[in-house]
Symmetry: C2
Subunit: 281 residues, 2 copies
């Protein structure tokens, strides 16, 4: 496995690989890898000739009051796990290289970024879209992989790629969960054992919503009420949002129909957790 | 010369050309071609194996009160001139294809877009950056050509390409002028013969500024005053801005030093004209 820190070298290698007719599968990450990330790398390995993973904690997607500084970093462990999962190249640039003095170009997916996490994290998706575009231009992938865990992010990247005529495929892969159903996230590292136990209610609330819909409940108001009730039964959790939206437009709906995204965000202590489920009906 | 209207076909052809090892030179235009555009195509022909010119009047770079609808269009004549200048492929997509329903992704070069024309044309450079990025992703050029006539645009595209790590070269080509020194522009078609004569004062004002600087005048206040005096001597002209700025940052300067951009924008009737000169000192 190669580790590349230079933008130019990564770009040149990508051009060279393309000239050799190799398909590049790309997994952009902020490191602190878990089984979710690794599932993306494994899929890339199946689909493409070369798997590139970027590891870069992107300052542009954190607000000043968020956890950029303390975001968990463990590059050595990440390299080990990436190699085990068949990654061929790790791209690991420095912050100064990615955001040099005078940097000022940003991409906004204006409508989709307004909803859900966009409300409580202004500027977040602008930072995400911008770094992903930069990475796409550096790594030159044929297919790029994103986790369904960040449902809104995946939807936004797909929109950006389509709107800006980017010549690549976006694949969104299912949420990977712990044995008890808790969605994997790098931020889970912040949780105390008690918090970890309390946070399991997210998955339970989603399950309840799915059960209701499978029992033909289509009234979104009733479903949301149940979700809130379940989450609020755990005093340590504070709801940021409980949303049931059209999975394509991310707009609120009143009635369950078509592809529906049930998305939750809660705070537990200083940690913000999200989880979601997509249901077709 | 090939005329391609489909995004997919253009993209596929570009990929194919790249695979054959061909270098693509790209000249994005809004049509109504004049010698300025053609000078870009001729340079592309010298530098690259294949010259692609896009002809697309981009609605996103016009404000609602601007001249999008009446912007001069003459596709047949453009094709003739492009062919004469050695263009191999014209890319001429429809508005619906470039901005389909639900389009919502925009690029902003945030600082450079604030100055000069950005003040009187809010959103203009956002529209420019976005369409150029789209076209770059479709045409996949090795080198792209822009005219110095639109000095701020050229500077912004260069910044965007660098900030977003786009793997291509940007070449800015000199302003092409009529025999009397009047800068060529598609919008000159709007001018009556009297207006055309009056507007020549732009070039005269720039010349005066250059003469002053060559005679070691470094006081920007004095230079601007002279420019304004000359332009205001023609009653039909209304100054939008007279700016003397750092050619790299586009920030106002008080003293002539380094690479300096002298940029003018005036209105004559309903027509907005710009002209500029770069001086090194």
């Amino acid at each position: 496995m190669k580790i590349i820190r230079s933008i130019k070298k990564m770009q040149q290698l990508a051009v060279q690989l393309k000239k050799q007719g190799k398909a590049i599968g790309f997994v952009p990450t902020m490191g602190c890898l878990h089984e979710g990330h690794l599932s993306l790398a494994k899929q890339a390995r199946l689909d493409a000739d070369i798997t590139v993973m970027s590891i870069f904690v992107n300052p542009a997607q954190f607000s000043p009051n968020e956890d950029f500084k303390k975001y968990p970093r463990n590059f050595k462990r990440d390299c080990y796990l990436a190699k085990e999962s068949g990654v061929d190249i790790i791209f690991h640039p420095s912050q100064n290289l990615m955001y040099p003095k005078g940097f000022q170009t940003y991409i906004e997916v204006e409508i989709l970024s307004k909803y859900l996490c966009g409300k409580s994290r202004p500027g977040h998706f602008k930072g995400v879209a911008t770094i992903v575009m930069k990475l796409f231009n550096i790594v030159n992938p044929d297919i790029a992989y994103f986790g369904q865990k960040d449902a809104q992010q995946a939807r936004i990247i797909r929109q950006m790629a389509s709107d800006l005529n980017m010549d690549l495929k976006i694949k969104t892969m299912p949420i990977v969960r712990e044995h008890d159903g808790f969605a994997m996230s790098s931020r889970n590292a912040y949780l105390s054992p008690t918090q970890r136990k309390d946070a399991l209610v997210l998955k339970n609330a989603l399950q309840k919503a799915k059960d209701m819909i499978n029992s033909d409940e289509i009234d979104v108001g009733k479903i949301k009420k149940q979700i809130c009730r379940i989450i609020n039964s755990v005093p340590s959790l504070k709801i940021d949002y409980v949303s049931v939206v059209n999975a394509d437009t991310l707009e609120d709906i009143d009635v369950i129909r078509g592809r529906v995204l049930i998305a939750l965000a809660v705070k537990i202590g200083n940690t913000r957790l999200i989880d979601n489920a997509i249901i077709k009906r």
